[in-house]
Symmetry: C2
Subunit: 454 residues, 2 copies
């Protein structure tokens, strides 16, 4: 499929192409009200302004006030057919042949905002009624299992039968760019008999994707099949399920993670419609043993969207990020639709705007660790983060030189060690998939760690 | 303290005294809009109507629209000092010496609704952002521990150090009177190697109290001490954390209960202000080992509010309920304020309307089991429920006669066996505490079990 072309110009590697059109909530200096927008290139199409303009016709959305809310919930609550029609309308409106391309500068100024202008603030795009976090990457579950129980018993007996999950804390979810304080809590020090109250020493991230439930709410008791569930998935965003490993280890028996996960959960500001990810389907896992029939989904699929985690250590001079993990959304043993279907089996009510996190998306191999728990083997192995950008050259003898020094002495002088995160560190997650002449990107999911409050 | 007297007449055993004044959300035939009300005797004072009347002055609430909402959240979000002032205003307005007592019948008709009128509907009184469930009764935790791990290891190592809790599902919470379908889910049959998908066979209740967070939201990272936390507890209601034990047993490793708890959680419709429970303080537990200082609360206390669980079996002719448990709110090892304080330690944001469930409130002794898991020892011991009301008499020889028969043959003919709940059973929880010439009651927390959906 060749790239679509828009009158908004951007290059083929740009994350916010006409094929993407992610939804967000923004405000800026010219209008401090939170309102819906669609990212296209370096612009934001203001959906609130659009809904009040003459361009708003044949959109599939009968009620323009749906686009005049401070969250996307009303839009997300529409039926999937309406999402598709509205997306087609937007793609046409923004295409290079659109009459809008010939509109006056003044008219365009009313409809578009400069996305990267300093006054632009991106807000949490949805009001989240309930947030569920799964544990669906077989690599992650295996890595954790090996750490805690050894290789023989890495996966618990139920793991291949159902998407293991738990309820997260909706109030913990904040938008990318919101710093947070290192959490304090009860920790059992090594070899100690009694816990202490102290700042977390094993602060970790978890690389996840959050899927947003849309369409009408389910009725109490209503079960969705996997194929019905698939239609209810509106879109997704990056999700960092920050975790305090030492607090978690002490508190989690027998009811699961609680305070170790509820202090902050960062999401990227743009919700990428699942319709935009259709070209990037990946086969679902070969489920062995075979799933129970209610979970089976012969037409089911995953999404192959490459993911990256980078850390900028506190000591970095400038914007120096070191990549610490690469993975993909495809590493969920159960598809997002299967997670949602399973979620409804007992009759749990789903409401538009509910979020389903995949759990840590680890890929096979040491570069695929989606958390530091895995990367540092629970704190036993350190790794290095750059504090400066190396200028690598090959010397006259063919040796690798970095700023004129040999690589290892340069690294020693320009990097720091980590096992878990330190105050001042920033973690950035990104996701971007390349199509034929275009890209679909998710923007950034980033936050900086502030010192614990006294 | 002698009883307060109201111009609304009710007897000394009435649950909704002038000392109580619980808040709820109701609608009725004369006005189908959901609105706030206060229960007094067999009437509801319509707070929405009151806020628009000439009687609304010196209430402590500056903005009358706070009382014109379809939930209590705006009222609950006010500062604790305002709750106290508004409560004092209501007690004065409803007192026997109030000028309102001499108002015209027409005027009273506008302000009051008949609470028991068939058209009155009581709704979920708050919009619940997040719902947390603790595990704070030492009797319950010990009983469960003995079942699963034996007497020696009944309490896990962390249990006496911190209030163990987990995040529940806010969307699962419904108001008393809402029937629900028996959940289906994955269950590992006894001795089986592979799970099946089937209706739950071990459907259970959990007798709990839900405490409602009020006042301003905490800031991210903000920790509340136990004494600060106490001021944020607005009120409480009965909470039945329905549980599917067979689904729970298979799914809960390692992240805790999930689908086994999110299909339905029933709460009583009236929120009793904690100010009404001040006369019923009970000493907190003697914490051994001593708590870490952040949890200490020298002025802390529990509440001694007697609780009762009754079941009306499907086979009952008429309103025949058998009492299956008696307990009290005082059986939380950590006080509600300590649970809230602990909840904020990592910096988790609390918002007005958030609910903290105590966990199953079991009392010492076999009559105090707050769940059937305990009462039936996981299904091993059955108990009987009456299907008819016995008319007990003492015969001429001093023998006990029931409807003219000896007691045991009458019971055999007029009762059924249970280990867990069956379709058509109703579970009713009530709470009522007696003061000096008055009572504080909570209304009913009841629901009926419908058959599983096909």
């Amino acid at each position: 499929m060749p790239a679509l072309t828009s009158f908004v110009t951007y290059d083929a590697s740009h994350p916010f192409s006409l094929e993407n059109l992610p939804y967000g909530i923004f405000s800026n200096a010219s209008n401090p009200n939170r309102r819906a927008g669609v990212a296209i290139g370096d612009l934001i199409l203001d959906l609130c302004a659009l809904s009040k303009s003459t361009w708003f016709k044949d959109t599939g959305i009968d009620d323009p006030t749906i686009l005049q809310q401070p969250t996307l919930n009303a839009l997300i609550a529409l039926e999937p057919g309406v999402w598709a029609k509205f997306r087609a309308f937007l793609q046409s409106l923004l295409s290079s042949s659109s009459p809008l391309s010939k509109a006056s500068a003044e008219e365009k100024e009313q409809l578009f905002a400069a996305r990267l202008a300093p006054s632009v603030q991106l807000h949490l795009p949805i009001e989240i009624g309930d947030y569920t976090d799964f544990y669906s990457s077989i690599e992650h579950a295996t890595n954790c299992g090996v750490l805690f129980r050894g290789k023989e018993n890495a996966l618990q007996k139920n793991w291949r039968w159902l998407p293991v999950g738990y309820h997260g804390r909706a109030s913990s979810i904040v938008v990318s760019g919101t710093p947070f304080h290192r959490p304090c809590g009860q920790i059992l020090p090594p070899q100690a008999e009694e816990p202490v109250f102290a700042p977390c020493k094993k602060l970790d991230y978890e690389l996840e994707m959050g899927f947003v439930y849309g369409g009408s709410a389910t009725k109490p008791g209503q079960r969705l099949s996997s194929s019905e569930a698939r239609k209810h998935l509106f879109g997704c965003f990056l999700l960092n399920d920050w975790s305090a490993r030492d607090i978690q280890a002490w508190e989690y028996v027998p009811l699961g993670p609680f305070l170790s996960k509820n202090f902050c959960t960062t999401v990227s500001p743009w919700i990428v419609p699942l319709l935009a990810l259709e070209p990037f389907k990946a086969p679902q896992y070969d489920h062995q043993p075979a799933l129970l029939s209610y979970l089976e989904d012969v037409d089911g699929y995953n999404f192959d969207v490459p993911l990256k985690v980078e850390i900028r250590p506190a000591q970095a001079s400038g914007e120096v990020y070191t990549t610490v993990a690469k993975s993909s959304v495809k590493h969920t043993y159960f598809t997002p639709a299967q997670m949602l279907a399973h979620h409804t089996t007992t009759g749990c009510t789903m409401r538009p705007g509910d979020v389903l996190g995949t759990g840590t998306l680890s890929a096979p191999g040491t570069e695929g660790y989606g958390s530091l728990l895995e990367k540092s083997e629970g704190g036993k192995r350190s790794f290095r983060l750059f504090t400066a950008t190396p200028a690598v050259k090959v010397g006259s003898q063919g040796e690798v030189l970095v700023d004129g020094k040999d690589a290892s002495s340069w690294i020693d002088a320009n990097s720091v060690e980590r096992t878990f995160l330190e105050d001042g560190d920033s973690v950035r997650m990104t996701a971007k998939v390349e199509g034929d002449g275009f890209c679909i990107g998710f923007g950034e999911c980033e936050a900086k760690i502030l010192p614990a409050l006294p």
